[in-house]
Symmetry: C2
Subunit: 283 residues, 2 copies
């Protein structure tokens, strides 16, 4: 049913195993590489829930695994971690003709593009919410209990995944998410190309819009550094807090004094997020 998986590398870390795996994705119609961490509990025969991590602009599957420092706590709690790439890649996949870092390759924005030339490959939402979990659950010793988190563009992705698929994820959280992409420059640039000029259609991929009609009130945990250079122009977490309050959706926004947009910020607070997810995944 699933295409064969090619394990590119396998590395021992915190008593578990980190693998980089390549496969041919039907959803995005190209080869994709993801990272999966299997905690030590699986070597004792356990099946474990899965924490999906969606990275931000310019990242691959490797940024989180190398820089977040997440494996110590994931090994303690018995969580698998899956980190996909941030866009389709490879021969035949179009990138931004202007070669910018905030659109195209490394910047799939976790939407399903409808416009040419993006519609064939730029279907990252379908990939991360349907094809990838099915593949993970068919091939690794994991349960069907899942959660999703991410950073910046990937924080947007995590919120949209959870809000669009009630019941599919047990927990959701984000670091410095783009909560209102339909109303900020990064989102306007990406959505205008991937989804076309009709801004009403952008709202299907905007957490601030989706939260108003969500049928499941999954609590959202957000950490945001107050020295994040993208805070005012691109991130605007207070917009999500306002939208959530209007409908009674539980959101915890923690403004972290002095922190920026980097993985140093993520590494500082990832333990809190993993414990937040574990409480729901293992409860």
């Amino acid at each position: 049913m699933t295409d064969p998986l090619t394990t590119l590398s396998e590395t021992r870390v915190f008593g578990g195993r980190l693998k980089r795996v390549r496969h041919l994705s039907a959803a995005v119609d190209c080869e994709m590489t993801f990272a999966i961490f299997l905690p030590p509990q699986v070597e004792a025969g356990a099946t474990v829930p899965v924490f999906y991590w969606l990275s931000g602009l310019t990242c691959t599957d490797e940024n989180f695994t190398q820089k977040a420092g997440a494996f110590r706590v994931a090994a303690e709690l018995g969580l698998a971690i899956v980190a996909p790439d941030t866009s389709p890649r490879g021969e035949g996949v179009p990138g931004d003709p202007d070669n910018s870092w905030d659109f195209g390759l490394g910047a799939g924005f976790y939407v399903d593009a409808t416009e040419e030339p993006w519609a064939r490959h730029y279907r990252m939402h379908d990939y991360v919410t349907r094809e990838l979990p099915a593949l993970i659950e068919a091939n690794y010793p994991v349960t069907d209990r899942r959660s999703v988190a991410g950073h910046s563009m990937g924080g947007h992705g995590a919120l949209v995944c959870a809000l669009k698929h009630p019941g599919f994820y047990k927990a959701v959280s984000a670091f410095a998410p783009i909560v209102n992409p339909a109303a900020v420059p990064w989102g306007e640039k990406a959505f205008g190309s991937y989804l076309g000029p009709d801004r009403d259609r952008w709202l299907e991929w905007d957490a601030c819009a989706l939260i108003t009609t969500a049928t499941e009130r999954l609590p959202i945990l957000i950490d945001q550094g107050d020295r994040d250079g993208f805070l005012e122009a691109q991130l605007k977490p207070e917009a999500l807090v306002a939208a959530a309050e209007a409908v009674g959706h539980p959101v915890t926004l923690r403004m972290q004094p002095g922190y920026d947009h980097s993985y140093f910020f993520i590494s500082t607070f990832i333990e809190d997020h993993l414990r937040h997810h574990a409480a729901a995944l293992l409860g």
Copy 2:
């Protein structure tokens, strides 16, 4: 007395501050960049001891700070961390004419070169044991209690620094160190160029040789993965254990099953090393 320091970046992490700093080094006669982590205790007015980290081949000051996951425990314990670059760099600094990764730029081997064209700049031992600590202690809220650790080429560096400077460091440890560079290909290539063909002079920079005449018996902690691809040809930690046993020098070699040479290995065991160092630095 010291040249001015230029702070390139300052990032909040685990309640402390990570800075990248550039300065003109007299020891290596070029501009150098180092990283310094100051734990939260210094913002409350404390002065703290310093853990020096020496990285391996191809690394800069950034590998350890981004990948080792050391700041959580350093913040808890109240340790500063200083991570220098692995060689002189920049305009006018000669690199390997063959452009290989295991000699020249990124591969200073923490020796003081005597041969041309290396002798002017490749004086990393003088830099890390004399100029850099003096600069750190003159410019940051730290004490004169220091320790040193490193990885691979930097593990060699840490051992040699501690063995050549009795009393200067309170603790020493290493991950997958090159313990006997005078007798393995990496060391033969580097020492033959930096130090010349007389192999007797190489022994001044070889931990297995230095340990036999050490006047201080500082306990050495070593972690080594048994799936490390460099273990048999380049690292040979059992050679140091044998040399240490012959003179009664305390060495703890922990062979870690399944681990390789990567920062995933380092991240798994760095907490143990930091606690080992803290016991001596804070005791």
